[in-house]
Symmetry: C3
Subunit: 258 residues, 3 copies
């Protein structure tokens, strides 16, 4: 039971499906993960191990972390960059085998730093699913210059392709910083017309918006609702985000419909 539970509005969601919170883990130690989950685990669906970070961590520790996260109902997945590296090296099969051995159930398929044709990306997503994984895909380029070239209508088509291929959700790229990329300008402010275009043309419940900054999280909660799917949340802001979803922080107090 929560402290002051008579003041806490419920948020009804289907875990891993609606109202998703996905955290970015840049290399937390296992004891810290466990301690953190004791207090915050309930408010979390997914954890992304950032880019190639787990390629620099001991296998046993990664296994241990995946298990700890799962004990608290949180699914960890390796970031997309590691997949991209495996793919361009022609080691996608090995990548899938290792992911399975380590205990991952979800994979991220992205082309943020490499070039994939639409057909190729579709085939890869289908392949991962055939191997028993659930797939979260990502749309967007990590290089702001390349990212800007993708028009809105093209972005919509790319998302639709991934969903048709079987991706559970599609991440809208914003990197760790959330500035000068995707739907954010150089200050990290939301380009509202672009978000509106995407919402109008896509099933919003299938999108996960990377939104590392607080003002971005507030925007999406007020725009789309408390059950918007958000990603790249820093660990220290996970409970803060949940409080905003439920109108328990000044920014959204009295403004959300639960």
């Amino acid at each position: 039971m929560y402290a002051f539970n008579f003041l806490t509005p419920a948020r009804i969601r289907e875990q891993y499906n609606t109202g998703i919170t996905m955290m970015l883990d840049k290399g937390l130690g296992p004891s810290m993960v466990e301690d953190f989950l004791r207090i915050a685990g309930e408010h979390l669906d997914f954890v992304k191990f950032g880019w190639g970070i787990i390629g620099l961590c001991d296998r046993d520790i990664i296994r241990e972390k995946i298990r700890i996260y799962r004990d608290y109902g949180v699914e960890a997945h390796p970031g997309g960059t590691l997949f991209e590296i495996a793919y361009i090296q022609g080691r996608f099969e090995e990548y899938l085998r290792e992911a399975e051995k380590l205990g991952f159930r979800y994979l991220e398929i992205s082309d943020g730093s490499i070039d994939l044709s639409r057909e190729e990306k579709t085939r890869i997503i289908e392949d991962a699913i055939d191997h028993g994984f659930k797939v979260i895909s990502e749309v967007g380029k990590k290089d702001p210059r390349k990212d800007r070239i993708i028009g809105l209508s093209e972005r919509v088509e790319l998302v639709k392709d991934d969903l048709r291929a079987g991706a559970e959700k599609v991440l809208m790229e914003a990197r760790e910083g959330g500035q000068n990329i995707g739907v954010y300008d150089e200050k990290g402010d939301v380009k509202e017309d672009e978000v509106e275009y995407l919402i109008d043309h896509l099933p919003v419940e299938k999108l996960i918006w990377e939104a590392p900054q607080k003002n971005q999280q507030v925007y999406f909660i007020l725009k789309i609702g408390p059950n918007v799917n958000l990603g790249n949340i820093p660990p220290e802001d996970v409970i803060s985000l949940e409080s905003m979803r439920r109108g328990l922080r000044g920014d959204t107090l009295g403004k959300v419909k639960l």
Copy 2:
């Protein structure tokens, strides 16, 4: 005994009363709190559980955290937002009972997101004191547009009201970020003339300045002295702040009188 203790100047203060450091806890795990306090606990007076965060945490864990903090001489209090939610829902009595059961000794009474008349706020503060709590009040609005409307002379009157009602200290609102609010401009720089006005018209030892950014902490230490009361300090900066109070960091070295 401190490492290199022959270099550490003493700072004489009365705990909970002068030279206060108040930290913002956004949901630290209990083991991390204990580990942190082993090294930093001595330099801390109060911890504010941010806004509605504890309404999303297990009661037993909150109880445990309050106890750990107290073992190290640190008093935790629930943030003002949770009080505001209870009050507008007509559940202030329940709020007081739950706070007592959880083990809180201090409460924060604020109207950052709701409207309270001056008489109402006074009555609430008196009521909380009657129930055996010590009260830290807060003056300021969380919405920058509303906050700007409060003139300096009105701000002075609001602080005086709260003190007359029995508040131990009054927090000067600056939120987690410390930008575009209260005495800070959009870049987080201090509006010095406003601070000077407030200092001239109020008992400075009764004020706690929310000062999350380092440049703000440096400003107040140099302006008011090493025993200025400061709040909303991020956990990782607690010892840093103490080092600046004592002239043990470049920014204040040779510039503080202890």
Copy 3:
């Protein structure tokens, strides 16, 4: 063995000598240090205890932390500010004795907040070495106005002096923030012409660039190579930095030669 180790390129370096990563510790608790090192220790050479922070921490805890760091092959050293305070108080001998008792093997000799003649600094470095310490010196002033006065050619001479005196490495001052100081402008962007001048006139393998911000780390890796020496890395970014050194993050993927 690393997770996905078949994707992890090796980085050949000589610990404490090439490809150095130096982290800034602002007061981590001992359990958190141990937990952190389990996952990240391998990617770390040095830890700097920031400015006068250990002068505010219990001796036994500092001893414990030094030992934990060393168990993982990481050498901790007290920041330069504490040395400067000892020196201006005429207690340099005591400083050396206490550093030895606590278990430090490396010292930082700086004049960021005090004035030392070139001869004086040389003598101090030699003295510390005579006492059995290894020395990392620092060049640069903490006050941006004073720092700007040091011309590039003078900066080169100061570095050469310190190396002649026996310093293992020389830190290029950038403080915790990395803005408006040394080779960084007010936004934290690198002044590329200044870096190029320094590289042209100094042995780059002897320099440690303080580079707290990600864009700064990326710049130096792409400019100087994966084995550039970098300092003032926040704990949460240690593995991220290693991933960039090895081309395992979008920013450097396909751009580093290992």
